[in-house]
Symmetry: C2
Subunit: 427 residues, 2 copies
Amino acid sequence: MKKVGVAILGLGVVGGGTYKILTEHREEYKRTHKIDLVVENVLELRKERALALGVEESKIADNIAVICSNPEVDIVIEVMGGVEPAKTFVLAALNAGKSVVTSNKELYCKYSHELEKTAIKNHCGLFYEASCVGGVPVIRALLDNLQGNKILSLLGIINGTTNYILTKMSHEGASYAEVLKEAQKLGYAEADPTADVEGFDATYKLSILSSLAFHTKIPYTKIYREGITGITVKDIQYGKQMGYAIKLLAIGKNGDNGIEVRVHPAFIPVEHPLASVNDSYNAVYITGDSVEDVMLYGRGAGALPTGSAIVGDVIYCATHSNYRYSTFENTKDAAPGTKFIENFESAYYIRVNASNRTGVLAKITSIFSRCGINVAKMVQEDGSDSAAVPVIFVTHKTKEHSVNKAVEELKAIPEIAKVAAVIRVVS
Amino acid sequence: MKKVGVAILGLGVVGGGTYKILTEHREEYKRTHKIDLVVENVLELRKERALALGVEESKIADNIAVICSNPEVDIVIEVMGGVEPAKTFVLAALNAGKSVVTSNKELYCKYSHELEKTAIKNHCGLFYEASCVGGVPVIRALLDNLQGNKILSLLGIINGTTNYILTKMSHEGASYAEVLKEAQKLGYAEADPTADVEGFDATYKLSILSSLAFHTKIPYTKIYREGITGITVKDIQYGKQMGYAIKLLAIGKNGDNGIEVRVHPAFIPVEHPLASVNDSYNAVYITGDSVEDVMLYGRGAGALPTGSAIVGDVIYCATHSNYRYSTFENTKDAAPGTKFIENFESAYYIRVNASNRTGVLAKITSIFSRCGINVAKMVQEDGSDSAAVPVIFVTHKTKEHSVNKAVEELKAIPEIAKVAAVIRVVS
């Protein structure tokens, strides 16, 4: 029986889950995959954490050199997160001839060009299924199942924290601030929630997924990004009445005029399969020219679901020697000539607070008309003459820049107290 | 650039779609996968069909020997369906050293032990992603993503024809016979629909999927099977009122007491992600001990979606030389000692037509009680005293054999005109 040694860098939530899966299933993997997967080292400074998980003291390393020079280690699992020291450690492992399995979306997104070059040079595998959407097998689906398609679009709910927050706000009517606090208490959101709620985490994942889908490098810096901190319960409720659910969507499109990549909150029709992806569940909805629509759904985070993706990569790596790298020139920047569409098309939900006076509606609609925006729906709340009354417009598909222009003009009308919300509507 | 030659056996719906994908994307695959995928032969007796698709006359073969002896052919795509002559042709191709990609669920289900043995002997690849659930990447997910899990259960809507029929009956209130006729006209059902509507097709796929999921051979003959021909609009509507959708479910469970595999119509709660898988869409809902719940959703059939799965396998085969075979001893029969549970547990929907007379309810419930069945819900239609009035029971989880016994006893009561429906309820 082939013995395959692994080392785990970091015994945090995911590292701990991975350790548990590997050790508890060791006998099963001997039977099913004819390999003996042995955890030979863990890199963890909190020795007591490692001991509590059942790691033998002799296997606990406090520096990467121990692991790189251990001939028993074949595969290094990096689950530390963040760029440094993860990057230095992963490069060291690859240069020592170890294959690497990582869950680190930020590292892979920002430095895959460098990591991959090093992996190729050293004939090592570099696997990263766990970097996107936890246990949901989306990376391998793009690499090994849908690779014969031209992928036309990819719509994803790929951040668990924001989906948990938006679902709670939507179902319970609680405010963003309240739900965030609760999510932090439950461990669903970090003390500093910026990476999640401002959409950075989703842009890292979208960069990885859209590069694979479109066979060309999509740097995360090219992705339009807008977080969920401005979303109010009021708009969620208006949206509901109009048949929409609110989601932080990651969108990639590959059309005739170029590539469009963006992360922002969006209303989607309740009938769309993504609309019922709730709480910390995630999903990616992919449309290809042959496969038509495919949706992959599951737990986007968590110790064991993410551990499942890591162990899947480890077993694959241990039982295959042909590693596949990118299907495109994996450079830091986009390939010269790649066209990114910034002035993209979308429908829009626009809420203004306007004084309830005859004539204001005519002013607003004439602005829309001047900006080339067609209104699909309009709802005006009943209100007293003096107060600022919410008026909601849903537009037909229009250009982003036209909406930006219209919003500027709306702000200049004295009867409009506030342009209270602009939310894209995706169908 | 590596040139890889393929041959397509059969230019039916899926064969034609596959030919189209391969030829239209040829330049793209050179760029993305550094391979030149060339269709070197097609096996098709209807020469005009091949010519109409654009195949050069010199590439049209009328017997398998031409393809087996063509040194330019590396990979043979079998999309003929049925056992013979597909089986003979696939074995001939493998014995001639060609790798095989097949969409043939019946062939793979019934003879994978023989095909795989021949593939291993000849160091050839044998790929069958397209055999189950069209373009949905479920086989590779089980093999290469979720393989570190103990898969606990698998619930699938894996037959497009029956899902189309049940969705239409459910949404439009049309009868089974009417919808079947329409489906046949649209090409969604065959002239002889038996394989689909009686659940045979689903048992072939469940045999393949559950063998992979549970790492042990599950012959299709061990699968309990019940089709949809007895489902009435009346029961669908009662079910709807109770919050259920009707589906033909393929169920595999791997519990402490053994393995449970069955294909039958079932009510599932409308909130379940599978409940909104409609029309010819298919989905598989997998629960693993690490990954928790994962659902894979998409087109379960059709020329291009199935072609997408075939071409995915072809590209993988062309770019890898490590082929993986079964993770279990792939014999014809189940491994000795495998325990299959026949007296499985489920909740049940039972509709009887009873005379609306005092005392009949007491008789029924005492039968349930005697058989150890707990009733969860009861609905009795208002009706005249003399007529046979529908009375519906939904039970708590109980044993299949207890329900069979109760149904026999119910039939013997003179006040019961008919036990009109027994449908399992799955949650």
